[in-house]
Symmetry: C2
Amino acid sequence: MSAPALHIRVDTRERGTIISRLEQNEGVSLEFVELEVGDYILPNGVAIERKSATDLILSVVDGSLWEKVDKLKQISTKVIYIVEGDIYTARFHQQALDIHRALAHMVIRENIAVLPSSDAGNSAMLVYLMGLAAHELTPAE
Amino acid sequence: MSAPALHIRVDTRERGTIISRLEQNEGVSLEFVELEVGDYILPNGVAIERKSATDLILSVVDGSLWEKVDKLKQISTKVIYIVEGDIYTARFHQQALDIHRALAHMVIRENIAVLPSSDAGNSAMLVYLMGLAAHELTPAE
């Protein structure tokens, strides 16, 4: 049984382990484009933004997260944030309330899923499997 | 400025740190009930299921996750899984693909958010802030 064909649009700034791992999956074709927002565009308009925990926290602190979220929602049917690393590390203790409030707002108000990931290889597996799941969505969903 | 009143229904099996921390927040009232599914019911029908990473993984392996998800979706407008601990630990290496596939399915197909949490105190903060965010939802959302 062969794996289903899966077409993923990838931002040109995405490189390294995650790309080589994604390419190892049978049936995957990657199209590299300069995406204005998002890092991976899966079938049926599902957009994935991949961030390190540190970058996510910094974008909460400087407020740039919400502009990005607005743009992502405009171009997609569903937005997923994959966050690599620990968002609850002690060094950001002073911003803890802000981080938690941002996560709550993203999930409840913006209907965005936030998925933890341990590293790039792990993220590749998540992108691939979410791609397969998104492929099965009907365009109306 | 006083905090807004926030009513949360809590399953009677929830105890310990998370409850004492939740009760510390001004304006929070907890109503303990035997919930058939879910651990916290926030305003406007938002349901929270709180699981340890180990329990989530076991529920993927034995398949009980999907029955729970079905029931949660029936009683709520939105379902959030708070997962305490690391779902990517090496000891579940053999189930890694199953775990990733389950996460992908939950997020893409079931529209469920999966939020990582480090511990019960952290989960309390997430429940409280998601409660405030859910409180601001209009019932139509």
